[in-house]
Each structure stands twice: as C-alpha cells, then as structure tokens.
C-alpha cells in the first residue's frame, strides 16, 4: 500500500518577536489504511503536528502532501474542499453543534459539500448511528447526550463523507475508561472495515500500544517511531 500522507522537513515557529519553535524538522509518511498513534508529553507539539496534517494550521517550513497533493501552498477554499472530502476530525471536546440533533450533526460534513442529503446518505448516517450504538438518541440535541455519546456522534460525523484520513486529537481525553474503551474499539473496527488511515493523539500508552505504529514526539522532534 502507498503513502496517503507525507510531511517533509516540517518546522513550526510561533510568535514574531519571541520565537518559539514547536516542531523541528519533522518528516513522516503514513500508509493508507494504517492505524497510527502519536504520543508525547504536553507541549511536545503533537496537536500542532496534527493540525498541520489536517491543514488547519500551516507549517513555517516544509511540505505537506495528502494523496500526493501538496497542501501547504493551497488556497483557503481548496483547503476547505479538501478537508471536507478527504479528512475527518475528532476533537477532544466533541464540538458538536448544540443547535442540531445528533443525526443532523452527523450529516453536516455532507451538507457542507453538497446541497441536499440524498436518501442513501441519510441511510448511511442512520447506519453510522447504529454502528456507534446511538440509534436511540440520534434525534436528541447534542446537548441532551452524555459525553461518551457526543464523542461517538463525533466519530460517526467524521466518517460520513468516507474520508481517506481521520485525525483524532485525544478523542477520549475527557471520557471515563469504559467510554474510552468503547470509542477505541469503534475506531479500530472502522479502520479495518473502511481502509481509512487513522492518526490518533493520545497520552494513554495502553491505547497507543494497541495501534499499528507509535510515534513519540519530544520537544518538537520525533523521539521514537515504532512499527509493530
């Protein structure tokens, strides 16, 4: 399998007067369908790296390629389309839209890229809700669900457009251990089924050890890169 994602010699510097270098010359590539984890102490630059991969942030130096296309030089609208089609995000704080129901939240990425959801897509959203075990609460507003339910909704939302890459930043950061277990087994199942590349940030070594590849960042550098 080829590389879906490549970063070459990434630097990231914050600030103009007092410069803080968060990432030092990082080069990585990720195989299609792989399940990767990034670990590291807080401040090691893992979120910054993930945001750069996800095109939400731009590197100060270096190149980012998604599916062979260079993204760090793309225009804002191109990036929006790319994020919408090729990348699914799962954030630590769920970030569902509280004004919409769970099912509507799941459909949002589709609706951003297209005008009206077709029957197939609505069926797919329902299937995803089933898959994450939320068919009973799918018509609840996001605020009327537990943290675990919200995060599982966010997982379903990340999958609706069948993206090539799913980026998750501590997706279980504020969930209890049972929900954590739940969400991770979901993610693993997804990656097996759909040939989607997962990159997950976690501070939990136990979880990291169950992934195909562990990348550890330390002070903005790749400290360890271990394939299983």
């Amino acid at each position: 399998m080829g590389d879906i994602l490549q970063i070459k010699n990434i630097d990231k510097i914050y600030g103009t007067k007092v410069k803080t270098k968060v990432l030092h010359d990082i080069s990585l590539s990720f195989k299609e369908g792989s399940f990767n984890s990034i670990i590291g102490a807080s401040g090691s630059g893992k979120s910054t790296l993930l945001n750069i991969i996800g095109t939400l942030d731009k590197p100060s130096n270096g190149e980012v390629y998604i599916n062979g296309k260079r993204t760090d030089t793309m225009k804002k609208n191109e990036l929006s389309d790319l994020r919408n089609q090729a990348i699914g995000f799962i954030f630590q704080f769920h970030y569902l839209l509280p004004e919409f129901t769970a099912l509507e939240n799941v459909l949002l990425p589709y609706r951003i890229g297209n005008s009206k959801p077709s029957k197939e897509i609505i069926n797919r959203a329902n299937e995803l809700m089933d898959f994450v075990g939320l068919s009973k609460v799918k018509n609840n507003l996001a605020t009327d669900m537990s943290g675990g339910q919200q995060q599982r909704t966010a997982v379903a939302r990340a999958l609706i457009n069948r993206p090539k890459i799913i980026l998750a930043d501590e997706p279980t950061g504020n969930l209890d251990s049972e929900s954590t277990e739940n969400v991770y087994s979901l993610l693993r199942e997804m990656s097996k089924e759909s040939n989607t590349t997962f990159i997950v940030i976690t501070h939990d070594r136990k979880i990291a050890e169950r992934t195909d590849r562990i990348i550890e960042l330390k002070d903005g550098k790749v400290h360890m890169d271990m394939n299983k």
Partner: protein, 385 residues
C-alpha cells in the same frame, strides 16, 4: 445556500431571547418610522386641504386693460383639453361694490358664480348656515360677519353701488360661513348673469377658476394650460402664491425624514452590536464548521441570513405595531367633537418602502458580523478548546 440558511435559523432559534430582543428593536424602529411618516403625511394633507381645498388652485385672469375675458366658452374647452387632472372648472365675474350700513361704508367683492360649477370648489351650499342659494337675478348671499355688521335678515334688501356707478337693490337669500373672516366680511355671492349685468359686461367674465386632482402638480399643469392659451391671459397657481406654506411643508418633510433616518441608524447599530456578539458566542460552532470544510463565504452567509430573517420578522412586527399605534392615535388623540386631531394618512407605498429599508438595514448591520465570521480561523477555536 440551504445550509447557511438552516444554520442561521437554528442559531436564531437556539437564542430565542436574543432573537426576540433584536426583532423587537427593529420593530420599534419600523413602527416609529411608519407612525411618524403617516402622522406627518396626514398633517400635510390636512394642512393643504384646509389651505387650498376650498379655493381655486389655478386661476386665469385677463391681461388686457379692462380685465375681461371674452369668448370664455371656447377657452374653457381648450383648458379642459390641456390636462386630464383638471377638475371643477368654473367661471367667475368679480367686481368691487360699496354698500352702506348705518353711517359706515362697506366695500364688497361681488362674486358672480355659476353656482352649480363653483359649488364644487367652494362648497357654497354646504357653507350656507341660514337660507338658500341665489336663484333669481339680484339674489345674493352674504357672509356671517357682514350680516352681523349690517344687521340684516333673509328677505331684506341691500343697496349697492358698483364702481361703474350703477346702484342696485340686492335681495338677501342666505348667509354663508367660509371660516375666513375677511371673506365672510366682504364677499357677496350672486349668480353669473346678475354680476355680468351689474358690471355691464354682457357675455364676458373676469376669471376662470379650477382645481386639480394632484395639487402639488398645479404649477406644471398651469404651465401646460398657458401653452395652449393665447397670450393675453395671466395664469396663477396656488404654489406660486403660497411659498411660505410650501417651505413649511418642506421643512416638515425633511425633519420627519431626519427622525426616520436616525431611528434607522440606531436600529442598525443595535443589530450590528448584538450580531457581533453572536459571532463570538458561536465561534466554537463556526470553528468546527470551518474545520469540516465550510467555506468562509458560506460562513458569512449564515450571519447575513440571520440579519435578513431578523429584518423580516422585525419589519412585520413593526408594521403591525406602527399601524396599531396610528390606530390608537386616531382613537385617543381627538378633538372635542370626536374627530382625530390629525387624521393619519396610511400610504401603503410608504409602508412597503419602510419595510424594505428595515430589511436592508438589517442585512447591512449583519455585514460586520459576517465579515468577522469569515475571518475567524478555525485553529483559534480548536487550539483554545
């Protein structure tokens, strides 16, 4: 287009209190605008109506030395053909005369009318509070004030002397009150042929009077008539004779417009500031939407739609409130006889324009938050949690 609209609706629904507050703000602005506009327009209509409603709006007099118009019937036809807004066309023979009461002399203005025609302008028959209109030759009506001066009653005769030296006995058939003291004191209304006879002018007349359906166009209509007629006639219109009234009306319109503009500016500032806060309130949602690939343009559309929706709701509420306010005003601000102090003029075009202005102001007000939301960088939200 559907998605930002839907999001806008949801955002508005989720903050019901805020939405109602802004919509009420717009509504109050619109209602004030409609109320003041209707009030001022009503006031002006009233004023114009009382000032010139019962007088000749365009008057044609002779420019010749003797001051008489010959062949007036032909001229009437020509005038009538000049513009279809001309109405209540009538002919008059005016002339001065004197009469005596006790030891005093009173100067009179003899006005010979075709009563039927002139009635349409002066509403003479409605203004006769005692007696009836002149029928036969040398019948005459006099005003309330002259009646009191002379101490006459119906059926009495008055001796008059015209400027040509002719003296005649006039028979009083009634008394009128045209609500203007100088007219009530001096006018003596009689028939056209009586007047022609008194001044010995046969089939000539002294002036042609008329009204027009659009009073503010009387100057242009007068110009049109002038082009059609021969040059020895002099045409005047009420606008030329009432410049002060016109400038007064103008001042009123301008000040009413100023009030309306400032009310609208206040409303726009209000909406803009509340919507700007909404952008901050919704920055998390905007951040995630942008991370999921919503384009900046679409994100700003959300707030433009919010402005549009608020504008529409506010305008509808405002029109209802404005009409209610106007209705209450005509019910409670009344004269002792029960008629409204100022009868409001409800102009639907004006209301439609106010509505459009309110809606577009709301959209303009939404431009600032729309710009802010377009500029919002998702990474700020994602990074700061």
């Amino acid at each position: 287009m559907r998605l930002p609209f839907k999001i806008a609706v949801r955002f508005l629904k989720s903050n019901k209190g805020q939405t109602i507050l802004i919509a009420l703000g717009i509504a109050v602005g619109v209602s004030v605008q409609i109320f003041i506009g209707s009030l001022i327009q009503g006031l002006q209509k009233d004023l114009v109506d009382t000032t010139i409603g019962n007088s000749s709006q365009i008057t044609i007099k002779s420019d010749t030395e003797d001051g008489y118009i010959t062949n007036y019937k032909e001229k009437l036809k020509e005038i009538e053909a000049s513009d279809d807004r001309i109405k209540n066309l009538s002919v008059v023979v005016d002339g001065p005369a004197l009469t005596q009461g006790g030891n005093k002399n009173y100067s009179l203005l003899i006005r010979g009318f075709n009563i039927e025609d002139s009635n349409k302008i002066y509403e003479i028959t409605d203004r006769i509070y005692e007696g009836e209109k002149p029928r036969d030759k040398y019948d005459a009506l006099i005003g309330k004030d002259l009646k009191e001066e002379l101490g006459v009653k119906i059926g009495d005769t008055i001796d008059i002397v015209t400027n040509s030296g002719k003296s005649k006995e006039m028979m009083i058939t009634g008394f009128f009150d045209l609500k203007v003291a100088s007219i009530n004191e001096s006018w003596m209304i009689t028939t056209l042929d009586t007047s022609q006879d008194l001044f010995a002018i046969q089939d000539k007349i002294t002036s042609i009077e008329m009204q027009v359906s659009d009073v503010f166009e009387s100057d242009t209509i007068a110009d049109k008539i002038e082009k059609n007629l021969e040059s020895n006639l002099e045409i005047t219109n009420w606008k030329a004779q009432n410049e002060e009234l016109l400038s007064g009306l103008n001042g009123q319109s301008v000040s009413s417009l100023m009030i309306q503009v400032f009310v609208m500016i206040a409303v726009v500032l209000g909406i803009a500031s509340v919507l700007a806060i909404t952008v901050i309130q919704k920055s998390k949602q905007l951040g995630i939407l942008k991370a999921m690939g919503i384009k900046d343009r679409t994100a700003s559309l959300i707030f433009l739609f919010e402005g549009l929706l608020l504008g529409i709701i506010g305008a509808i509420l405002g029109v209802a409130l404005g009409l209610l306010l106007s209705f209450l005003f005509t019910k409670f601000a009344v004269n002792p006889d029960g008629t409204p102090v100022v009868s409001l003029y409800i102009d639907y075009t004006f209301i439609a324009i106010s509505t459009l202005i309110a809606i577009s102001s709301a959209i303009v007000a939404a431009l600032i938050p729309a710009r802010r939301s377009s500029k919002l960088n998702p990474i700020e939200v994602i990074r700061n949690g």
